[in-house]
């Protein structure tokens, strides 16, 4: 919900009936996307507004439709509440609230959204302070769903809001094809095939994980989003930027420098596999540095400091999820791949072979390789008592949640009364 500007000035005439948020202490307001028009005058060329962007409609947009400031609403398909989603309930700080009701209501009667449910954000497990978080996570889930079912190219980085999400490698078809060519020239096609399969698996499981969004992933994700790391693309690669900023107990310091990247790369390409860019010493390293393919399991932040290679290049030095707070589930997944990875190429990825298909299709079933998120779900449904702070415990124990203090974690098992 956007913060009421008038309240901040001390002159909100609706008082408790106001549909905007009156923050305690007059401050607050969530983070939110930037880049909106702040047309503060009602006379802005409004006939363009609905086509050009739903920005004026922010107040009433169903928060679950928010897509962040990124996707400008497309006018090519004039349908679709998704396209309107330029603004959002949760995120908003300040500024545009003059649209609120006053003139905005009058002119915006073409807004066909359901009656503004001010409390709809309560439905999503996020607090008001971090109201944006809930919608963002849902956006990601939706995107994952679409990605998986649409048959689009899987080897792509992904980002919803400025920060690229970890766990996705960026590979272009040309790079793959080049690789294939050079492999087939030297007769090692099978290696290529295996590598691709492995990559596909990782991608699949990461997508699954984000789709299913168990609380561990969710928290990890929110941490990543809210501590925006400098884009990996702007860093010299190999630096821990994407992960370095994520707070909780991550040990990715070992990430270090291009040095590991340059040497022990990936057997995918000859040492100079990068494409065109002057900065890219090698294929594998380019891939590995910003994103962590092997760490797609469990928590995304459990990025092992394995800058150098994919999991099948060399027995990787992945530390299983340093962030043990996210349950041992992730550790479990890790080690199982470890073994497979450690075996090196062509050593029979038994499970992988079992998958059979070429992988780019629309198979809906999660990979049978045992690294799916199914494994992760088991012990992270409830938090442990020790993991919850006293405030959260109080919230759980209270009869109702207090706005602004709703915990992000699930309650401990024993607090549940069935």
């Amino acid at each position: 919900m956007p913060v009421c500007n008038f309240f901040l000035q001390g002159r909100c005439r609706y008082g408790d009936k106001c549909w905007n948020e009156h923050p305690a202490g007059g401050g607050g307001g969530g983070g939110g996307g930037g880049g909106y028009n702040s047309n503060n005058s009602y006379n802005s060329p409004a006939q363009q507004q609905p086509r050009g962007g739903g920005f004026g409609n922010r107040v009433w947009v169903n928060p679950s439709q928010q897509k962040g400031s990124y996707i400008q609403p497309s006018s090519f398909s004039s349908h679709g509440t998704e396209e309107w989603g330029g603004g959002g309930g949760g995120g908003g700080g300040g500024g545009e609230n003059d649209w609120g009701r006053g003139g905005g209501g009058g002119r915006r009667d073409n807004v066909s959204f359901s009656a503004p449910n001010r409390f709809s954000t309560l439905g999503t497990p996020s607090t008001f302070e971090r109201g944006g978080g809930g919608q963002q996570v849902e956006t990601i889930q939706m995107d994952m769903d679409i990605w998986e079912s649409s048959g689009q190219w899987g080897f792509s980085c992904y980002s919803s809001f400025k920060t690229p999400l970890s766990g996705f490698t960026d590979l272009s078809p040309e790079e793959l094809r080049l690789e294939y060519l050079s492999r087939s020239a030297s007769g090692e096609v099978q290696i290529y095939v295996n590598a691709i399969k492995e990559l596909i698996n990782q991608w699949r499981s990461r997508v699954q994980e984000l789709k299913v969004m168990n609380p561990a992933t969710r928290t990890a994700l929110l941490a990543e989003i809210n501590n925006p790391a400098p884009q990996a693309s702007s860093s010299d690669f190999g630096s821990a930027t994407v992960f370095g900023s994520a707070t909780d107990g991550m040990e990715s310091k070992g990430f270090g420098a291009p040095a590991p990247a340059a040497s022990n790369t990936f057997s995918f390409a000859a040492p100079s596999g990068g494409f065109g860019s002057l900065a890219a010493p090698g294929f594998g390293s380019a891939l590995a540095a910003p994103t962590q393919p092997p760490s797609g399991f469990g928590s995304s932040i459990a990025a092992a400091p394995n800058a150098a290679s994919f999991s099948f290049a060399a027995p990787s030095t992945n530390k299983p999820a340093a962030t043990s707070g996210f349950g041992s589930a992730s550790g479990f997944n890790f080690t199982s791949t470890q073994n497979a990875g450690g075996g090196g190429f062509g050593s029979g990825f038994g499970r992988v072979e079992g998958l059979g298909s070429s992988g780019f299709g629309k198979t809906a079933s999660p990979p049978a390789a045992g690294v799916g998120s199914a494994g992760g779900a088991s012990n992270s449904l409830f938090s442990h008592e020790s993991n919850t702070t006293p405030e959260e415990l109080n919230q759980f124990k209270a009869k109702r949640f207090t706005l602004g203090q709703i915990p992000l974690k699930p309650p401990p098992v024993d607090l549940l009364v069935v």
Partner: protein, 337 residues
């Protein structure tokens, strides 16, 4: 001048194919990665990707797949950029090829600007063996476009850099990508005064973003649209999403054409924000497209773009290049506002 096939020349009178588009006779044996029309003469030139034996070029020019090609201003020289890390200049008059650039990695894009030829961000004077200037890019370059004095490079990890090329070329701005997925192609467009004013960026996710460099109203002027999806605008049912392989702007009208992995091409008017036309579906993805200098001919190439991995790679499948009369279909619509 015959440019392709070991045998014949320009097949404009070749066999008709589906939909009244003229098919170029004796197309290359392998996937086509780029097409370029020469400036003054309306010759179409295509390059093979893959394979070190090029039946297309009279000599074996490159030892690795060729990824990009461009013409010089006067149409007498052709520059090719290849995965064997070199760029070569082929003088058509004398039929000689000369290496002009050396990179550390495969070269993905090459463009001619006035007296310099830019290749993947090294600026070369064709006369000297050393680069005039090198600019570091943070990531692998996936696509680039140059319209003097602006150059745009889209890199891996959703990077987007704009360079200004006057005097000493330098980085002008790094832009946050308006798209969520991997960048695939980029094309610069010009405003009414023929100055480059923005670019169109295509991704693997069936989406193109139109982005102006200095728009009066960024939130309204920049937008994205979905394309190359199987279901059109109906987002209720799951749709197939295809990558946008190439974007090309009509030199006269300012409308654009996109070609995708779904084997279709589409024409769009970005000012009226409408789609002008979508083609029938070809059985192979369309990998490259370009307009000739006066905008009458639209050429597009149909071959496998590796979008489904190696399993679908069928070397026996024939590749096509089609030419289409583009004079009428790309006229812009009347503006809606």
């Amino acid at each position: 001048m015959s440019l392709f096939g070991a045998t014949s020349g320009f097949g404009s009178s070749g066999d008709r194919c589906l939909g009244n588009d003229v098919e170029v006779t004796s197309p290359p044996d392998d996937s086509i990665s780029c097409l370029a029309f020469s400036p003054p003469l309306h010759l179409c030139f295509q390059i093979l990707i893959m394979g070190s034996s090029f039946t297309l070029l009279p000599k074996q020019m490159h030892t690795g797949p060729v990824l990009d090609v461009c013409w010089s201003d006067d149409g007498s020289k052709v520059f090719t950029a290849s995965c064997d890390k070199t760029a070569k200049m082929w003088d058509l008059n004398s039929n000689q090829a000369m290496q002009i650039a050396q990179h550390e990695g495969p070269i993905k894009a090459i463009h001619w600007i006035k007296d310099f030829s830019v290749s993947s961000l090294q600026f070369w004077d064709t006369r000297s063996p050393n680069p005039m200037m090198s600019l570091q890019m943070p990531e692998r370059c996936y696509c680039a476009d140059v319209v003097y004095p602006m150059a745009v490079v889209a890199t891996a990890e959703r990077g987007l850099i704009v360079y200004q090329l006057e005097n000493q070329p330098s980085e002008f701005r790094r832009i946050d990508s308006p798209l969520k997925h991997q960048h695939r192609c980029v094309a610069i467009f010009k405003d009414k005064q023929n100055k480059p004013t923005g670019f169109a960026l295509g991704s693997i996710e069936g989406r193109v973003a139109i982005h102006y460099i200095n728009p009066p109203n960024p939130a309204k002027d920049n937008f994205t649209f979905k394309c190359h999806r199987s279901n059109g605008t109906n987002t209720a049912t799951p749709q197939d999403i295809y990558a946008v392989n190439a974007i090309s702007f009509h030199p006269v009208h300012g409308t654009l054409a996109t070609v995708g992995s779904d084997g279709r091409f589409s024409f769009w008017d970005k000012d009226a924000r409408t789609k002008l036309k979508t083609s029938e579906q070809l059985d192979q993805p369309i990998t490259a497209c370009c307009f000739n200098s006066n905008g009458n001919i639209f050429a597009y190439a149909s071959s496998y773009d590796w979008s489904k991995g190696h399993e679908y790679y069928n070397p026996q499948k024939k590749n096509y290049i089609f030419l289409r009369n583009a004079a009428e279909e790309l006229k812009p619509r009347n503006k809606k506002w």
